[in-house]
């Protein structure tokens, strides 16, 4: 069938094209469309029957002249050519080069929709990935095979944070050389795209990186394919080439909005805020491609970045994401306004799998308890800050004033770090002890006596 061209379009409306008198077209097939001016468009079969085939046209149906439109059904789903050479390359949303270099030539193509992993084949995420950011490594550690989103908001520097993670992320120990990063950006402005591309080239991160870029002015449906293409590349690297792959995707809100746009065109029943009822399943189809597989050395770790509309964490996109992922890193508008970069709000952030990635076997024995102590002390410090806002800092007790100083130092020195500053996890933990030493030893009940004796530096007055 893929060698036949049909000219039987019977209607077109809002990006959908109906083909009549074409029998036996398979669901989900790729479609090539040539219009009267010779312009080529892409499409996808979304509904098929004996009488009519419904094709979704990526580049819209504007200017289509039904009598002079030629349609070819390609008998295959969208697929990505894969080989070792994809590392260091930049592609568009459907896997075509966008770095001016020749396309990937490979006999191996992978359906970008993937196939669900058998739950019995999964292995539990374990072992540490270092991002070089203290607020993540120290208190919300990332584990191989985990999916840990960044919840941000409009105007917050999530793209800079994402780029920093892409540049800095690494593994500790023997596996360090088997690391790779897949970066996908969809619905981004050309300015952001340039920021990412140039940043990665300059830092030398590009050679272990595969990039997929879909710009804001490119077809909306391609935006739905971009994360799928990126994850297909990641699956190839992780489970065929045994790499540990970190996938960073930004911005899932642009993705979900594209999904809503297409769903409305298709006439799907809306559930919440106009998003289709299958938004959860659709996001899960992407996120659940992360993980580890029994008896395979590689892994896929996923950091989706999303900007919460109006900073609302109960909006369907962050909400459904939170139900699928294993924790979240939350960026704070308040910290950002105070000039703290990266503005990571550690208290609402959480890494559920942290316990399986840190400690003596992976980072340092005191890590779990230091993290717990930082959470407790910083939470207490924020309470004191709240109190000081009411009664004034002068009326605080001496003990409380130390907490106030701790909060300040914690935000400036632990959470805050420069964009070029790559802190290894040991430096992060040492810094944590410097800060904890500002507080009375008796108040540090989450760490053990031995750890206090070893790491606590009393009298070591820490100043900003």
């Amino acid at each position: 069938m893929k060698n036949l061209e049909f000219r039987t379009a019977s209607s077109a409306r809002g990006g959908l094209l109906v083909m009549a008198n074409v029998a036996g077209v398979a669901a989900g097939t790729r479609v090539g469309i040539t219009d009267h001016s010779g312009r080529r468009r892409n499409g996808l079969v979304i509904r098929t029957s004996d009488d009519a085939v419904l094709v979704e046209v990526f580049e819209d149906t504007d200017d289509l002249d039904l009598e002079r439109t030629w349609v070819r059904f390609l008998d295959e789903p969208y697929s990505l050519p894969v080989s070792r050479d994809i590392l260091g390359r930049v592609f568009n949303g459907v896997g075509r080069p966008r770095d001016g270099r020749p396309p990937i030539v490979s006999g191996q193509h992978r359906d970008i929709n993937g196939a669900p992993l058998n739950p019995a084949a999964r292995a539990y995420p374990r072992e540490f990935i270092e991002t070089g950011l203290s607020a993540i490594d120290g208190m919300n550690s990332l584990t191989r095979g985990q999916k840990l989103p960044i919840f941000s908001g409009g105007g917050l520097p999530h793209n800079r944070v994402a780029a920093q993670i892409v540049r800095q992320a690494r593994l500790l120990g023997e596996a360090a050389g088997d690391f790779a990063v897949v970066f996908a950006a969809f619905g981004v402005s050309s300015q952001d795209a340039r920021f990412f591309q140039e940043g990665f080239e300059e830092s030398g991160a590009l050679e272990r990186l595969v990039m997929f870029l879909n710009l804001a002015d490119e077809p909306v449906i391609e935006r739905l394919l971009t994360p799928r293409a990126a994850l297909t590349a990641a699956e190839y690297l992780a489970f065929e080439l045994d790499r540990h792959v970190l996938v960073v995707m930004t911005d899932m809100t642009a993705y979900a909005e594209a999904l809503r746009e297409v769903a409305v065109l298709r006439g799907d029943v809306p559930a919440r805020k106009g998003y289709p009822g299958y938004l959860y399943s659709d996001l899960a189809e992407l996120y659940e491609r992360a993980g580890r597989i029994r008896n395979r050395p590689g892994s896929i770790t996923l950091i989706p970045v999303l900007s919460m509309p109006s900073d609302d964490i109960t909006h369907p996109i962050p909400d459904l994401t939170g139900y699928i992922t294993e924790g979240q890193i939350v960026l704070s508008r308040e910290l950002n306004a105070q000039g703290v970069y990266p503005p990571i709000a550690v208290l609402p952030s959480l890494s559920r799998l942290m316990k399986d990635g840190i400690g003596g076997d992976f980072t340092r024995p005191d890590h779990p308890r230091v993290a717990s102590q930082l959470f407790a002390s910083y939470a207490r410090a924020l309470e004191v800050r709240g109190l000081a806002a009411i009664i004034g800092a002068e009326d605080l007790s001496e003990g409380d004033r130390r907490y106030l100083e701790f909060a300040e130092a914690f935000e400036r020195r632990f959470v805050g770090q420069a964009e070029g500053d790559q802190r290894d996890v040991y430096a992060t933990l040492d810094l944590a002890w410097d800060l904890l030493s500002m507080l009375p030893a008796a108040s540090l009940t989450r760490v053990s006596e031995e750890e206090l004796a070893k790491h606590y530096k009393p009298g070591d007055k820490v100043t900003r």
């Binding site: 669901a27 029957s49 058998n118 489970f239 809306p270 959860y280 659940e288 491609r289 294993e326 799998l353």
Partner: protein, 603 residues
Amino acid sequence: MARIIEINGPLVRLELPGALLGEQVRVGALGLSGEVIAREGDTALAQLYEDSTGLAPGEPAEGLGHPLSVELGPGLLGGIFDGVQRPLEAIWQASGDRIARGVQIPALTRDRRWDFTPAADRLPGMVLNGGDILGTVPETASIEHRILVPPDVAGELLELAPAGDYDVDATLARIRMRDGTLRKLSLCQRWPVRRPRPFRRRNHAGEPLITGQRILDTFYPLLKGGKAAIPGPFGAGKTMLQHQIARWCNAEIVIYVGCGERGNELTDVLESLPKLTDPHSGRPLMERTLLIANTSNMPVVAREASVYVGITIAEYFRDQGYDVVMVADSTSRWAEALREVAGRLGQMPVEEGYPAYLGSRLAAFYERAGRVETLAGNTGSVTLIGAVSPPGGDFSEPVTSHTKEIIQTFWALSKELADARHYPAIDWLESFSGYVGEAAGWWAEHVDPDWAEARARALELLSESEELRRIVNLVGVEALSSEQRWSLEAAELIKEALLQQAATDAVDSYASPAKQYLLLAGLLAIHAEGLRLIALGVPARRLIELPVVAEARRWKTRYGDAELAALRERVAGLTEDFMKLEGEYAVASGSAARVAAEEGGQP
């Protein structure tokens, strides 16, 4: 000839004359499975349990003549199955890491022979009815699998196989039915999942399900055969709590249905259960556990089926006379699957896109829980615990609000508590249990007659402390009387030393009823002792500084179930901790000036 006419996502229109509603179908060259959900003349509409990509009109289709049903027999326990009861471990062996489409592998292994012992009094010539026990198979070291006459079979036993090793298909018995037809029975039987298995009558009296989680057992108990819901926004620790229940509850069989949830969580269960032992039987937990896994990335229609597959298996073990707990995580994803299919069928949405029958489907599903007298006259139960994932943590959304009307025990998880790292993050004000009266009888008989009173007093302290907390936030702690300050401290103590429970701590993860009560009684005794001293004029500040207040917070991890005698002794000797202070003030008792100086002396 039966063939495909149209494909629209998971829905396919088939030319399939004579199809029955609910009938299983095989569709396309790959043989994808699905079920008929509507009929119109010679065409049938079917929903597929597998992804339809690549399917084309004109490909063949076939009706199998029976509705979605499960295979019931030895080999279920310790297994992991998908939403339509395909064995995932065997599929992994057969088709690799990714689930290939169209794979058909029977749920029960045919490679294994089971050691069958016929029941002693079953003799040829006797009349057997549905639910009667034919014999037993030791399926695991902790569970004896009782082979039942299927509920729809009754008649004269012609022949029963002698003790020996049989596979699940071997004929064990022949029965002449009342209408004269012959039925062969084997170790395995089938039952349609959407039809509840019959029983003789409901049996309401019951005992509490002990989960070892203090906030559940002591404060919001659930009975065996009861219905409970765990609603909670993401990050509130819903899954962890369910895992804890699946690990530690005193049911004999646990069925965990992962319905549209994370793959890694199921892996966690799969990897951790074999390493844990059942505190009640001392055997590996995996021997009594069965997992149904339809993770969120697996086809949505099979997700809808998965909870029915789970509950049918639960009923089957109930019919053998066992106490079964089924945990469904999450019923919201199941409801969303309903919504998705309803949307594709063009059914009129009512609330948030859900179809009008959401409430009745949920009610009918939960109604399959219960403690019953089985057809054979034994007692068995199915306890149903459904997780709910309300969007945005909003408990007024349709699934949560419908569920709340149906269930008896409501364990409300709170994001605020989880953010404060208070786990399990169950809100003690929002939660409720309709079983407290029945549970009290059991606690009084097995643990302590004062249980109900102690529980009520602790809850009173907790709710009083909310009020006091508000005052403190407005005008500061100085506004409270000594008695109020001490009550506030006691409530904090109850929260930290009793309600908070660390799932990852080896000692604290499970607390026996006796330990739960001792801790509760001990903390209340501290409060009472303090009140007595306050009456003597001791300021609350001095009481809060007492070492016993800090020490009590560590009781839960210090005293394991082997050291209960020591804990009992510790609680009994509490008066001594207050003696020194008492002595100090007993002398000065009545000296109002001194009290005033103490109270006012420190800002």
